[in-house]
């Protein structure tokens, strides 16, 4: 009603011919065809029951340790047989019911009038009157202060509930950040008590002489091994490093990082500065390191500067050295926080192209 000016207000250019007269389906006009269609539906349901029963037999009878491999198909026999019989059992019910609905049920289309979702003017007026009666009865209009206090109470009652969410996690205050995301296990290293770099997985300490030019080593600080469970995972998500050895003559080493490397062995954080994937995709000839997640590319022959992709900051480099026995060591933490950016991160100290 009211504002809903419908198209019917305009005279249509063509008169409504009305719904097409119902035409009997082929089936309805021929009892033989009808019987045949019914038989097909019954066959579907019958087969479905058979499949359902056989899937139960298969579930118990077929061992679930047999693999079947044919070309690019590589499945588990139990899963395939059980699933296929169960699936066909279900599918056939669907097919049968649809065939029933399409072929055996009355397919005459019916017409139903629509009602306008809007209520009539009288109803609307009635409701408004009721509403104002209610408002009057409750005294809401007169008792402003009562309403105000109720509003206040309602506004605050949920507050304690929301407050309980405040302890969902530690608060990343400056001090907490310094102890967590701005620190790695290398922070425990000092020149007096250096930390050895060990091969990831095998925990074997790495000697400078072990690395050839063109070599990449995925490494960890030795002290990671003491950690377990959540501490281990959290520490590893920051302390993972890669060591690469390049021909010192083919790379650019800035003056400030002259003593960060050992005869062409450089150590970088393995955690991408974009969103934190571990990066190891290193091209030994171009010295480019590509992140497989979003294709940020860093030049390890040039202080880890970004050469392509969405990362904005160079890969943090770790100062390394060798101890008396020739093992690679770290004596200090990264100079900047590793991993993806966060709001409070002071990114003015990261290495930029052109820094000395």
């Amino acid at each position: 009603m009211n504002t809903n000016a419908s198209t019917e207000l305009t005279p249509r250019p063509v008169d409504d011919p009305g719904v097409e007269p119902h035409v009997l389906s082929y089936r309805a006009s021929d009892p033989e065809v009808d019987k045949e269609a019914e038989r097909r539906v019954i066959a579907c349901f019958g087969l479905s029951a058979l499949f359902a029963l056989s899937s139960v037999v298969i579930y118990f009878a077929v061992p679930h340790t047999i693999a079947i491999r044919v070309g690019s198909f590589d499945g588990n026999l139990h899963n395939v047989l059980f699933g296929v019989t169960m699936g066909l059992g279900i599918l056939l019910i669907g097919l049968g019911v649809i065939m029933w609905a399409r072929n055996l049920m009355n397919d005459e289309e019916l017409t139903e009038e629509r009602h306008d979702p809007a209520s009539s003017e009288e109803t609307r007026t009635e409701v408004l009157v009721m509403l104002s009666d209610g408002v009057r009865d409750s005294g809401v209009a007169r008792r402003r202060f009562l309403m105000g206090s109720l509003g206040g109470a309602l506004g605050l009652f949920a507050l304690p509930l929301i407050v309980t969410l405040a302890d969902m996690g530690p608060w990343p205050t400056k001090r907490v950040r310094q102890q967590t995301i701005e620190r790695t296990l290398f922070a425990e290293a000092t020149p007096q008590k250096p930390i050895r770099l060990v091969n990831d997985v095998s925990w074997k300490p790495l000697r400078a002489a072990d690395l050839e030019i063109g070599q990449l080593v995925n490494a960890q600080p030795e002290n990671l091994r003491e950690l377990h469970d959540v501490e281990y995972q959290q520490a590893k998500a920051k302390s993972s490093i890669i060591l690469v050895r390049m021909d010192p003559d083919s790379i650019k080493i800035p003056e400030s990082r002259r003593d960060w490397q050992v005869s062409g062995i450089l150590c970088y954080s393995k955690i991408c500065t974009h969103v934190g994937c571990p990066i190891t995709l290193w091209e030994q000839q171009t010295h480019h390191l590509l992140c497989p997640c979003h294709q940020s590319t860093f030049d390890l022959g040039n202080s880890g500067n970004v050469v392509f992709g969405p990362a904005a900051r160079s890969l943090p480099q770790l100062k390394i050295g060798v101890d008396g026995e020739g093992y690679l060591i770290a004596t200090q933490d990264f100079t900047v926080p590793v991993g993806p950016s966060y709001f409070e991160r002071d990114s003015r100290n990261d290495f930029k192209e052109g820094d000395a």
């Binding site: 504002t3 000016a5 019917e8 207000l9 305009t10 250019p13 063509v14 409504d16 009305g18 719904v19 097409e20 340790t65 590589d74 499945g75 899963n79 395939v80 059980f82 699933g83 699936g87 279900i90 599918l91 056939l92 019910i93 669907g94 019911v97 649809i98 609905a101 289309e109 019916l110 139903e112 629509r114 306008d116 979702p117 969410l165 969902m168 996690g169 530690p170 608060w171 990343p172 995301i181 990831d200 469970d229 281990y232 590893k236 998500a237 974009h274 969103v275 994937c277 497989p292 997640c293 294709q295 940020s296 970004v306 392509f308 969405p310 990362a311 904005a312 950016s341 002071d346 990114s347």
Partner: protein, 574 residues
């Protein structure tokens, strides 16, 4: 409460008034014996207590129009039911804990490895629990289908204009469902704690961190400290099996009730008007078709689970922050966001001691938010252009509203290009292209190609509409050519059927808004207040491709007219 009366017509003083009426009328009508003997008493028992009679009367012969595109939403609904069923089974075995355990199951390549309990139990489900792999794979396939079907359903609603008044609320609910569906998917594939899902969580962590001002807080609150923490799996588990499914169920219920109350839309056709609905009654035809389709969707998903591998977590192995695999992608519905993140240039601002990572925040948070916001607001955006206040129960064909259709195609093109971006490494290796070249191409293409798609779509729609106009005025070409007296070759045309002519002229595009006119062509005052000059211009641009239907007179004129190059055979049909 009173026990059900043994005789059908006993009046219970407490029962609803409709019951007594129906009981009387039921005796007056010749019902088949089965209804009197079994159906009758049972129906009465239920009606005495719940008054189901009224509801059944309302629903049972409710008409649903039949069209294949009206079943897309059903695919989503049935996939969701399969998700609930398979999901319940998975919770029987899954352990949502990140506590570290040593693997002791039968899978060879994990023997003796340390892993989270969540991952170990996922391997157990896949390897050692009979039928577990089937249910896991079904659950994941159903999830991919659920979101894909919601997308196609939304596209159908969009291109046919079914979101217009009075259905804006159901469109909003649908957008909410789409958003919740993707969130359900993300929280679900993060649960197994395998290498791929851990990589996804690492990305989510980076995404949260990138939010200006509160990013670090969001990270610490969600992960209970630094990534990965020890609670994220159990928290996501709650989100995945309780919070989101609960919300989805509620929204689906509202979606259905509103749809039934407002009645389904229909395409124009003979006898189909804005004021009726033509189709099959809910009981029995539509209910049979719905049930049948449920079993078909269920069966298809089961066959997928049996035959097609999905997310082989045992190959990925447990999450380890120092490991990653080439080809790390999210599930497809996050693929376009992934693509945007990949092709985004590395822009970041370092102001004072703060970092603003536009490179992650813009494609990851802003774009995702903008998409859903634009989608949610679309009915009002279109209304701003058209000022259309009418109720719409007849659907547009896509070509009936070229500007809307062109806009939809442009958005889909944009998302498809980003989807390619999200798969750029797979595309690079399989089509021997350069990764960097793809990224550079897409950085420009996402702006240029949608504009081209918009323009081309609009042209195509216009062409189709002009074709309709031709058919209305000059009839349908027969393919027979003859030569007229002047030596010109003319193709014979036959008038189109009355039914088709009615369908082609059944809906009117809204008139463009003008600054001066405060009332539309029908003399009905618009409720949208003053029309600014800008809005009038926008409205004009929107409607410039409108072709008004020929009037009754023009049609009669065309049909009686002969020999203007579109020779029409004498009409002998009507």
């Amino acid at each position: 409460m009173a026990k059900p009366a043994p005789v059908a017509d006993t009046r219970d003083p407490g029962s609803a008034t409709t019951t007594s009426k129906r009981a009387v009328s039921a005796r007056d009508i010749d019902l088949p014996p089965v209804m009197v003997k079994q159906g009758g008493p049972l129906a009465k028992w239920a009606d005495d207590r719940l008054g189901v009679g009224g509801l059944s009367k309302f629903l049972m012969r409710k008409i649903f129009p039949d069209h294949w595109s009206f079943l897309l939403g059903e695919i989503a609904l049935w996939s969701f039911i399969v998700l609930l069923i398979t999901g319940v089974f998975l919770t029987i075995w899954f352990k949502p804990s990140m506590a570290e355990v040593e693997y002791v199951g039968s899978y060879q390549l994990m023997k003796g490895m340390m892993m989270s309990q969540a991952f170990a139990s996922t391997i157990d489900i896949s390897m050692d629990i009979r039928g577990g792999l089937l249910l896991r794979q079904m659950h994941h396939w159903a999830a991919l289908l659920f979101v894909a079907a919601m997308f196609t359903h939304a596209a159908r609603i969009f291109f046919t204009g079914a979101f217009r008044k009075p259905r804006e609320i159901n469109w909003l609910i649908g957008v909410g469902l789409l958003f919740l569906g993707t969130m359900a998917g993300f929280s679900g594939y993060s649960l197994p704690d395998d290498l791929l899902s851990g990589t996804g969580l690492r990305f989510a962590d980076g995404l949260m961190r990138s939010i200006p001002l509160i990013g670090t807080w969001a990270e610490f609150f969600v992960f209970n400290g630094q990534f990965p923490g020890d609670l994220i799996v159990s928290r996501l588990y709650m989100v995945h099996i309780l919070l989101i499914p609960g919300l989805i169920l509620g929204l689906i219920a509202a979606h259905m009730v509103i749809m039934v109350y407002q009645k389904h839309t229909q395409f124009p056709g003979p006898g189909r008007t804005e004021h009726n609905v033509v189709g099959y009654p809910l009981f029995p035809v539509y209910i049979a078709k719905m049930t049948g389709f449920f079993f078909i969707v269920f069966g298809t998903i089961t066959l997928f689970g049996a035959l097609v591998s999905i997310n082989p977590v045992w190959t990925y192995g447990p999450y380890n922050p120092s490991q990653v695999t080439a080809g790390s992608q999210p599930d497809w519905y996050m693929g376009w966001v992934e693509g945007a993140v990949r092709i985004m240039p590395g822009w970041e601002s370092h102001w004072g001691h703060t970092t603003w990572s536009w490179n992650v925040f813009v494609p990851g948070v802003i774009l995702l938010g903008a998409f859903f916001t634009l989608m949610a607001l679309w009915p009002w955006i279109e209304h701003w252009f058209t000022g259309d206040e009418r109720n719409h129960n007849l659907l547009d064909r896509p070509q009936d509203n070229p500007t809307r259709t062109a806009f939809g195609v442009a958005i889909i093109t944009f998302m498809l290009l980003l989807q390619f971006g999200g798969a750029n490494d797979i595309i690079a290796t399989h089509f021997k292209l350069s990764l960097n070249a793809i990224s550079w191409f897409l950085r420009f293409a996402i702006f240029v190609v949608p504009v081209i798609a918009f323009w081309v779509t609009k042209r195509i729609c216009l062409g189709l509409k002009k074709g309709d106009q031709e058919r209305l005025l000059h009839g349908s070409p027969t393919g027979e050519v003859h030569r007229d007296a002047n030596g010109a070759y003319i193709e014979d045309h036959v008038p189109i059927s009355h039914e088709e002519a009615f369908a082609l002229t059944a809906i009117d595009a809204p008139e463009p808004l003008t600054v001066a006119a405060q009332a539309d062509a029908h003399g009905v005052r618009r409720t949208d207040g003053d029309v600014s000059a800008m809005r009038a211009r926008a409205s004009h641009w929107w409607s410039e491709s409108n072709i008004p239907h020929p009037t009754r007179e023009e049609l009669e004129e065309a049909h009686s007219h002969h020999g203007d190059g579109h020779e029409i055979e004498p009409a002998d049909k009507h």
